[in-house]
Amino acid sequence: MATLESPPPGTSSSAMRNAFGTVLSALILLLIGVLAFSIRLFSVIKYESVIHEFDPYFNYRVTQFLSKNGIYEFWNWFDDRTWYPLGRVIGGTVYPGLTLTAGTIWWALNAINIPLSVETVCIHCVWAAAEAYSAPSIVLTSQSRDGLHVFDDFRESYAWLSHNTDVDDKVASWWDYGYQTTAMANRTVIVDNNTWNNTHIATVGTAMSSPEKAAWEIFNSLDVKYVLVVFGGLIGYPSDDINKFLWMVRIGGGVFPHIKEADYLRDGNYRIDSEATPTMLNCLMYKLSYYRFVETDGKGYDRVRRTEIGKKNFKLTHFEEVFTSHHWMVRIYKLKPQKNRIRGRAKKLKLKTSSGLDSKAAKKNPWI
C-alpha cells in the first residue's frame, strides 16, 4: 500500500506565490478597467448623461426600437420616418453590432429586474463610438460672470416639435440634424445623416438655395410642413446652416444645373453683407436665418460672420415663423397653405381676354 508522501519541500510556497500572483494580476486588471471607465465617466458626472453627436442618436433610436419590438421586427424594419417619401430599409442597411450589444445588455438587466432605461445602456455602449467632444455637440455651455450659461436650444426645439406638431408632419432641414430630429422630436424627416441618396439631398439643398416661391414648390411636392434651420448669428455659434450653405449650393448644383455657384459668390467668397449677390440675398436660407434679426439689436450684426447683414427688413410670403429657440439657434417655419382663388392681376387678365390660351397662362400663377 503506497503511503501518502509529503509534498516535496518548496512546492507549497511556490503554490502560494502562484496563487498570490494570480489574484494580484486579476486585481490589477480590474483596477485598470475601473480607472478607464471612470475617466470616460467624468464628463457624464460633470454635465449630464446625455447622448452627444449626431450618429449616436441613430444607434439609440434603433436600440429603442429593438427593445420595444423584438429581434424579428428589427430585422424586417422598414423605416418610413426618414428619407420621406423613400424611406429606409434599416434591417438590411445597419451594422447591428452596437445595437445588438446594447439591446442584449438591456434585456439581460431587465430579466433580473434591474430597471435601466435604454438610453442609459446606450451611453455606456455609444462611448465606444463617440470618442471625443467636438462641435457640434447637443448642449453647449459657456462661462460667464454669473457662472455657467447653458445653451439647450436644440433640445428645446426638438421638444417643441414633438409636443406641438402633429405626428405625421414632415420636417425638412439639412441632413446633419436628421437623426436627432427622428430620435428626439419623433417627426418624419426628408434627409438624414445616413446620406445614402445624393439626389434627395440635392433636392433639399436646391430648395434652400432657391427663392421663396421655388423653395415652397419643392417642399410642397415633398409634403413638407415645417422647415428647420440652425442659426448661430445671435450668439456666435459657428456650425450653423449659413456656414454650411456652400455645400447646399454645390450639392444642389451638382444635380440641378440651374443652381450655379457663381451666382452666390462675390469675388470668390460667400457673402451675406451689403456686398452679397442678389441671388444670395433672395435665397430661402438667407431669409429664414435672418428674418426679423435686425429687430434684436437694430443693426443686424451677425456674430459669426462678423458683419452686418445685407438685407435687413423683409417679409416672408410663403413661410411663417412658428418657433425660434431661446438663443435663436434653431428657427422653425411653417409652409403657408396655398390660396384657393386666383386674384388680382391674373383675374384682370382673365376678364380682359376671352381666348382660352391667355386664361390658361393666368391660371398657372396662384400666388398673385
Binding site: P115, S162, H163, T296, E320, F323
Partner: protein, 462 residues
C-alpha cells in the same frame, strides 16, 4: 326676462317636490363672494340658516346647477361658533347626495350639522366650493399680442332648495377690464368688483343666469395627467418620481410665434402665456432632478427651507394656448419624516396628497405608493373619495415583486394637498432578504472559483 321665465318654471316644479327638509329651513341671509382672479374659481358662501319647522334638523342641502356639478373640485363647510372677536370654525361633514325629483338635474351636497338645529334656532355656515374649467376663453383663439378674455357663467341669485330672504353676490375680477356682464337689477360694477344684489325674498330654486366677460391673463396651467410614484425604501429614504403632462388651458394660440417680439415687448406680447412654474416640495429634500424624455432641463432653481422647499422651474419653451410640455420631477426625502408605527403594530406612511405645483388643475392624478417587498395588508385612508387599486411592481433585486397601492382621482386642485395615510404590515425579518441575496451571490462565486481551482479535471493522471 329669461330669468323670470326660469323662476316661474321652477315654481311649478316646486309644487311637485317631495322634500321634507326643504320646507323646514330657510336662509335668512346669504352672501356669496366669487373670486375669478385665477383659472381655479373659488366661491365663498356665508349662509345664515334658520329652522322654521317643528322638528330639529340634522342636515341641510346645497344645490348646484348641472353645469357646475361636473366641474366642482371640492366643497367644504364650516360652522361659525361664537361672535365677533371670539369666532372659531368647526369643520362639518359634506357629502354628495342624490335626491329624487331634482329639478332640471340639479346636483346636491348634504351638509351635516355638528349638533341638530332646534326649531327656531339659527346657525351661520361658511361654505367654500371650488370650480375648475369654468372660465371659457372667448375669443377661442388669440394671437401673440392679444390679451385673453373669458366667459364665466353663473346665477345672480344663489340656487338653493330653501327660501332665501336676503342675498348678495360679488364677483371679483383680476383686472379692471370687463367687457360685459349681464344686468339683473340691482347690479353694478366698481373697479374689480361686480355686485349683484341685494335681492329680497326669493323662492326656492330661483335662478337668474348671468355671463361675465372679462380679461384674465393668469396662467391657465392645466396638468392633463400626473403620475406620482412614492417608493418606500426601508433603508432610509422615500423616492418620489412625478411624471407631468402639462398644457396651457386658455385661449388657443394662432398664427406666428415671434421670438423677437416675445423677448423685446414682454408686457404686451404673450400676456396670457407662462413660462415659470413653482413646485412646493417637502423640507429636507435632496437629489432633486428635473428632466424630460430627451434629457436634463437646466432652467430650474431650488430653495430648501425648514418648513418647505421651493423649486422654481421653467419648461423648455414658454407655453402658449394649446401648447403642451412633458417633464419629470424627482426627489428624495428622509424616511423618518414620513413613516411611523401605529399603536397596533402596523406601519403607516403619512404623506401629502395632490400635486406640488401651485395654482394648477390636475385633470387626472394617479398616486402610486410602492411598498417594500414583503409588505402585506395594504390599506389607504383619505379624507375624500378616491379610486383605489392594487398593482405589483418589479424593481431592483425583487423576487415576488412589490405591492403598489394606486390611488386615482380626477379634477384635483391645490386644496386637495392634505395628508393621507397608507397602512401595511411588514415583518422585520424581510429586511434581510436583499443583503442575504447579495451575500449568497458573492459566496457562490467564491465557492465556485475555489472548487474550480482545486478540482482535478484531468482524464489522465499527470
Amino acid at each position: 326676462m329669461a330669468a323670470r321665465n326660469w323662476i316661474f318654471a321652477v315654481a311649478v316644479f316646486l309644487s311637485l317636490s317631495t322634500f321634507s327638509s326643504a320646507q323646514d329651513l330657510q336662509i335668512v341671509n346669504a352672501e356669496r363672494r366669487i373670486d375669478l382672479s385665477s383659472h381655479i374659481v373659488k366661491a365663498f358662501l356665508t349662509l345664515k340658516v334658520e329652522n322654521i319647522g317643528k322638528d330639529p334638523a340634522a342636515d341641510m342641502l346645497l344645490a348646484f346647477p348641472p353645469t357646475q356639478i361636473k366641474n366642482l373640485a371640492m366643497v367644504q363647510a364650516l360652522a361659525v361658533m361664537g361672535k365677533k372677536k371670539k369666532k372659531n370654525y368647526l369643520p362639518l361633514d359634506v357629502k354628495p347626495s342624490e335626491q329624487p325629483d331634482a329639478p332640471n338635474d340639479a346636483g346636491y351636497f348634504l351638509v351635516s350639522f355638528a349638533t341638530p338645529l332646534g326649531p327656531g334656532e339659527t346657525v351661520t355656515l361658511e361654505v367654500l366650493y371650488i370650480l375648475t374649467h369654468s372660465l371659457e376663453p372667448f375669443p377661442v383663439e388669440i394671437t401673440q399680442s392679444e390679451s385673453q378674455l373669458v366667459y364665466y357663467r353663473d346665477s345672480a341669485v344663489v340656487l338653493s332648495p330653501y327660501r332665501i330672504k336676503q342675498q348678495t353676490t360679488f364677483f371679483k375680477t383680476p383686472s379692471t377690464r370687463v367687457e360685459s356682464f349681464t344686468s339683473v337689477e340691482p347690479a353694478n360694477r366698481a373697479g374689480k368688483e361686480i355686485k349683484y344684489g341685494a335681492y329680497e325674498d326669493r323662492v326656492p330654486y330661483s335662478y337668474a343666469p348671468v355671463i361675465v366677460h372679462f380679461e384674465n391673463n393668469s396662467p391657465f396651467a392645466v396638468v392633463e395627467e400626473l403620475v406620482r410614484e412614492i417608493e418606500i425604501s426601508h433603508w432610509g429614504s422615500l423616492q418620489i418620481t412625478e411624471n407631468y403632462r402639462l398644457t396651457h388651458g386658455g385661449a388657443r394660440h394662432k398664427g406666428v410665434f415671434s421670438r423677437v417680439e416675445y423677448q423685446s415687448r414682454r408686457s404686451i406680447s404673450g400676456s396670457s402665456s407662462f413660462n415659470a412654474l413653482l413646485a412646493v416640495l417637502p423640507p429636507r429634500v435632496n437629489s432633486v432632478y428635473y428632466r424630460d424624455d430627451i434629457g436634463n432641463i437646466s432652467t430650474s432653481h431650488l430653495r430648501t427651507g425648514f418648513k418647505k422647499s421651493e423649486l422654481e422651474f421653467e419648461p423648455r419653451y414658454p407655453l402658449f394656448g394649446g401648447w403642451k410640455a412633458t417633464f419629470i420631477i424627482g426627489y428624495r426625502v428622509p424616511l423618518e419624516d414620513y413613516l411611523f408605527e401605529a399603536p397596533d403594530g402596523r406601519r403607516y406612511l403619512n404623506f401629502t396628497f395632490g400635486c406640488p405645483l401651485v395654482e394648477t388643475i390636475v385633470n387626472k392624478l394617479t398616486l402610486k405608493v410602492v411598498l417594500p417587498e414583503g409588505s402585506k395588508d395594504p390599506s389607504a385612508v383619505l379624507p375624500f373619495a378616491v379610486n383605489q387599486d392594487l398593482q405589483v411592481k418589479y424593481s431592483y433585486l425583487d423576487i415576488v415583486g412589490r405591492t403598489v397601492v394606486v390611488l386615482q382621482k380626477d379634477n384635483v386642485v391645490p386644496t386637495h394637498n392634505v395628508p393621507f395615510q397608507v397602512y401595511y404590515t411588514f415583518k422585520p425579518i424581510y429586511m434581510l432578504a436583499e443583503p442575504l441575496m447579495l451575500v449568497s451571490a458573492f459566496f457562490f462565486v467564491f465557492v465556485t472559483s475555489l472548487a474550480y481551482v482545486h478540482i482535478d479535471l484531468n482524464i489522465v493522471k499527470k
